[in-house]
């Protein structure tokens, strides 16, 4: 499909007359016979009215301009994609989010996934690791090695990165609050293994502000979280220029049931908070903007999803060019990972989730532009995914890529009247919400005031009510329900063995290390934290001295304090 040329006034009159005739002579009599399925039609999450038909007159009404609103792929405003050839050049990178057990358990699973057809993966750490606690901390009991892999010390990371490096192109590490420790451990592990950091791309989440918004794995108060994140960004840009030090995972905001407008507006506002903090350290916008990356979530409303992906690229390009005065194309080209299955997978009738994932994956490919797509898994609503679910997830990626033809043209739905109307409206509403957040003083101020948290709580309640009240149908949940459904499904099981092994290894390392060296290294971290020196170099030394993740974070807890949300900022 290509965009319709803008109609001339004469043509517009002809179209209006033709539509009037069609409604009167064709549509109305048909509806008089059958009626409509429902009185009004709306999009699923934004509840925008959906018209019965869209025509070129709708494009005229929004002032749609092919060159201004679409242009060509690989050029401003990048609505049609950030690369000229889109997926004709190459498919997206195929990733999965995973991690469980000890470092050894995970590196075995990751190696297998790379052999099975993925280009990379997203490391998920267990809750003690992402919260900056060691595996033997009292709060860690029962959580060690469970919802991700456990990393206490450098030897754990060395073991985790025991991978087929010839197959790995992309590694994404999701560790926000203790990000400098995580970065230091990866750097030290690569050094120990003799792997050149330039031989692959490491993408770090490092978007701590999202944790205060909805995920909850924060440690220090937000302004200190921002400083630590900015230290990692600065260090990485200067020392590992092919790595990506900041990823705003707006998918997490979406998973917390934000609507697409909130997802983009909150995500961009958070991204700009980091950008401003980095620019304050003396960088030029074109030196840093190309490093910003995003992960977006997708759900089942196909048109909302596709228009969101297109608006995402267009808004970033505009923000960089118009607000920050970026000049280099790379600064305006959104680096995006799409993440289907963020919400909307059901516990009931779990095999239906394979169909849902395929549709969402198709929306990712149709919306184009994502340089990577993560495969979600159909049994995630139950427990940690089974190996069969991992394999099926990979297959869904390859089915969409190789069997549907969707990737053979760039931005295949461009010019579709409804899609262009929705893309423009998405852009306008996101920009309006960003301006509202600007007026509050930006994302940090909005989080400190509890604005994001309150808006999300409202949105969550509304989304759940729609399903409960049956306003929105979900197969297996409130439609085609099987009252005798046996919800038994093969569930991946992890015994207590991993936790015991992890704690044993930690105890052994603590016993055998040079305590004096550890104490000195931790003291250096404290000095850096108290001043404004970049924290990564002293943390790197501490990691090499075998200081643990929890010990390093404790020093910073001591200096920065610990964040305790109140009733306003918790969202509850």
């Amino acid at each position: 499909m290509t965009a319709a040329p803008r109609p001339s006034p004469d043509e517009d009159d002809r179209l209006e007359a033709a539509e009037r005739r069609w409604r009167q002579d064709v549509l109305d009599p048909a509806l008089a016979r059958t009626g409509q399925r429902q009185e009004a039609f709306r999009t699923q999450q934004l509840h925008w009215p959906v018209q019965d038909v869209y025509t070129p007159r709708d494009l005229e009404a929004i002032g749609f301009d092919y060159l201004k609103d679409l242009g060509f792929p690989g050029e401003f405003p990048y609505t049609r994609g950030t690369t000229p050839g889109g997926y004709r050049q190459d498919f997206w990178k195929m990733l999965q989010v995973t991690g469980f057990g000890t470092a050894k358990d995970s590196s075995e699973r990751w190696s297998k996934m790379l052999e099975q057809g993925l280009n990379g993966f997203i490391i998920e750490y267990d809750l003690p690791t992402t919260n900056g606690y060691d595996s033997d901390h009292p709060l860690a009991e029962g959580e060690v090695a469970r919802a991700g892999t456990a990393i206490d010390t450098l030897p754990d990371m060395v073991q985790a990165l025991d991978l087929p490096w010839d197959k790995l192109q992309h590694l994404n590490s999701v560790c926000n609050a203790p990000q400098p420790v995580n970065l230091a451990m990866i750097l030290a592990a690569l050094e120990e293994k003799g792997i050149d950091p330039a031989s692959f791309t490491l993408q770090m989440s490092n978007a701590i502000l999202i944790e205060y918004t909805c995920v909850g794995r924060y440690i220090y108060p937000p302004k200190h979280g921002l400083r630590i994140a900015t230290d990692c960004i600065e260090y990485t840009i200067r020392n590992c220029p092919n790595w990506i030090p900041i990823t705003v995972v707006s998918a997490q905001i979406y998973a917390a049931r934000a609507n697409p407008v909130q997802e983009l507006a909150f995500g961009f506002s958070i991204a700009m908070e980091y950008l401003d903090a980095t620019l304050e350290r003396g960088f030029d916008i074109d030196e840093v903007a190309p490093y910003w990356s995003f992960v977006t979530g997708l759900e089942m409303d196909f048109m909302e999803a596709v228009s969101k992906l297109r608006a995402y690229r267009k808004i970033w390009a505009r923000l960089m060019k118009e607000r920050y005065g970026a000049r280099k194309p790379e600064s305006m080209e959104l680096r995006l990972i799409s993440s289907p299955g963020t919400t909307g997978l059901t516990l009931q009738q779990p095999l239906n989730n394979i169909a849902r994932l395929a549709i969402q994956m198709l929306a990712c490919a149709a919306g184009g532009g994502a340089y990577a797509i993560t495969t979600p898994l159909h049994d995630e609503a139950h427990a940690l995914p089974t190996e069969e679910a991992v394999r099926t997830g990979i297959a869904v990626q390859h089915i969409v890529a190789h069997e549907t033809g969707i990737a053979d043209t760039v931005d295949p739905f461009a010019g579709a009247y409804m899609l262009e109307v929705m893309t423009k409206r998405m852009e306008d509403e996101v920009m309006a919400e960003i301006e509202k957040i600007d007026a509050m003083g930006g994302a940090l101020a909005a989080i400190e005031a509890g604005y994001f948290q309150k808006e999300l709580a409202r949105s969550q309640r509304a989304r759940f009510s729609e399903i409960e009240d049956g306003v929105r149908k979900q197969v297996g949940v409130n439609h085609l329900v099987d009252p005798d459904e046996d919800r038994a499904i093969e569930v991946f099981k992890l015994g207590q063995e991993a936790e015991r092994k992890q704690v044993d290894q930690l105890t052994r390392i603590r016993r055998d290390r040079d305590e004096e060296m550890v104490a000195k290294a931790l003291e250096r971290v404290r000095e850096a934290a108290m001043g404004d020196e970049n924290l990564v170099p002293p943390i790197l030394d501490a990691v090499k001295a075998l200081a643990t993740q929890g010990e390093i974070c404790d020093v910073m807890r001591d200096v920065f304090g610990v964040y305790h949300p109140d009733s306003l900022t918790s969202g509850v």
Partner: protein, 145 residues
Amino acid sequence: MAERKIRVLLAKLGLDSHTVGVTVIAQSLRDAGMEVIYTGLRQTPDMVVQAALQEDVDVIGISSLSGAQMQHIPKVLDKLREEEIDDKLVVVGGVIPDEDADSLLASGVDRVFTMGAKTSEIAEFIREWWDEQQSSHASVSSEGA
């Protein structure tokens, strides 16, 4: 005298930070006329039981999505017994595999709501329990009279 509101403590244990479920439940129970006290994240079983005592709640709702439910929840039940306040209604919600749900029920949890449970169903369950309590108290006091 106005009827006393049912007081519900909603708790998150350990390092589980998934709060969507607990946020939605908090709002729906408030909408259903109950008083909701939320512990916030990173609570130990002891902290939860102490909060239940201090706030004098009738119901303890534990939300769990990280998979560590079997580590923490039995300890909450033990502590409730130690403190002799095991007459509270204890409900659990979240991602709970069937066999864990069975063990939790066996160790004293009154009801496990897994994903897909309706918020109205949870509120109704609490309300029915409460009404039953009230009527049994009323019959005890009328027998006493």
